[in-house]
Symmetry: C2
Subunit: 222 residues, 2 copies
């Protein structure tokens, strides 16, 4: 296929451009004093439910000023769900594009005063492949891995897991009903991203959520 | 981002090239009398377990000559699992590429006598976005949708569901433990792909699998 090499070249240019824009975003976030946390996972791993609970608790329970950007191919369902937490939410609709990039994030932030925020969450498109290579200027990247997906996903999607700062094993309330080898999953995550923090959460039962809030609060700069 | 329009143009060329190659593959499959079934889903929706049972049953129980091509970013775990069914299996490793394309399929088939096969399955990379636009020359495209992912996935990934010939609602053994609105899911699938066949299966309990084998066998040409 003669278009192959040209596509690779264009992709490399796109990634290089993205890295430059992400670096500028990161400087901007630091200057504004906002801690930016990105979330990525397979479709249906529970990002939105998890984020809805997190936004609500951080605002009401811990008095933090939080906001979210939400990426989706279509619909603003997730943005509508997150807005119920009573925090500012903006939607990024990507159409057929399989990931967010730094330019989309920059555009979505236009006119937003970041200095009034403590934490900005960025929920990526549900996809374990494409978002891996695109830096969004975040301080920390979180990969949600649902127990229903099986323990083999780190080995099968190594680019994503090797770039994770935190791996949240989600839907742990379903552990009794599925075949998920917690030890194998943890070992594979540690091999791909030796410094990554591993936590288990269930947004449904609340198990592990306090430990997550504590970890996040302790990670905030200053 | 100045690379934007150029990327779109290159992408359109890639899709156009892919369509030509897929058309040639489809002619080749028809001429060889092999029925080609592609499978796509989110990571961890159960494609491999489902396919493992299907290959084994079709070969042993119904005397069909079946084979499989398996796409993955990394590892040949799935190909090794499928080979246990005692049928020919070939692996396509895509690296960072988020989907199979017709060229990869054509290359993987080199030296393979398709005329001795009744059904060839192609298991795509686990991804609800990128594989949507790439025709692989298949006769029928199957989307697996796990009940653990939630009923909102058709609306959120419309490109994939609108191109489905069959939607298999998988992991129905977990229905008692998750919040999955079967009616809403079915209605959204019907709106996106009015002719699509909807079936429910659990590869773990075997529920719905006989109906799936029957449907597949009745779909075979000739």
């Amino acid at each position: 296929m003669s278009t192959g090499p040209r596509l690779v070249e264009v992709r490399q240019n796109v990634l290089k451009q993205n890295d430059l824009l992400a670096r500028a975003l990161r400087r901007r976030f630091r200057a504004a004093g906002v801690y930016v946390v990105s979330l990525v996972s397979s479709p249906g791993a529970g990002k939105t439910t998890f984020l809805e609970k997190t936004l609500s608790l951080l605002r009401r329970g811990r008095g933090l000023r939080v906001a979210a950007l939400v990426g989706d191919l279509a619909t603003d369902n997730d943005a509508a769900r997150l807005a119920r937490a009573g925090v500012p939410v903006r939607q990024i609709t990507t159409g057929t594009v399989c990931h967010l990039d730094a330019e989309m994030v920059g555009r979505a932030l236009e006119g937003w005063d970041l200095a009034v925020l403590d934490i900005l969450f960025i929920e990526n498109v549900g996809n374990l492949v494409c978002p891996a290579l695109f830096d969004l200027g975040e301080a920390v990247r979180i990969v949600l891995a649902s127990v229903t997906e099986g323990a083999d996903k780190p080995a099968k999607y190594p680019h994503m897991f090797s770039r994770a700062d935190v791996v949240l094993v989600s839907k742990t309330d379903l552990l009794p009903y599925v075949d998920f080898d917690v030890g194998r999953h943890a070992a594979d995550v540690r091999q791909l991203s030796p410094g990554a923090r591993l936590m288990q959460v269930s947004a449904v039962t609340g198990d592990g959520m306090q430990a997550w809030y504590d970890w996040l609060q302790l990670s905030l700069p200053g």
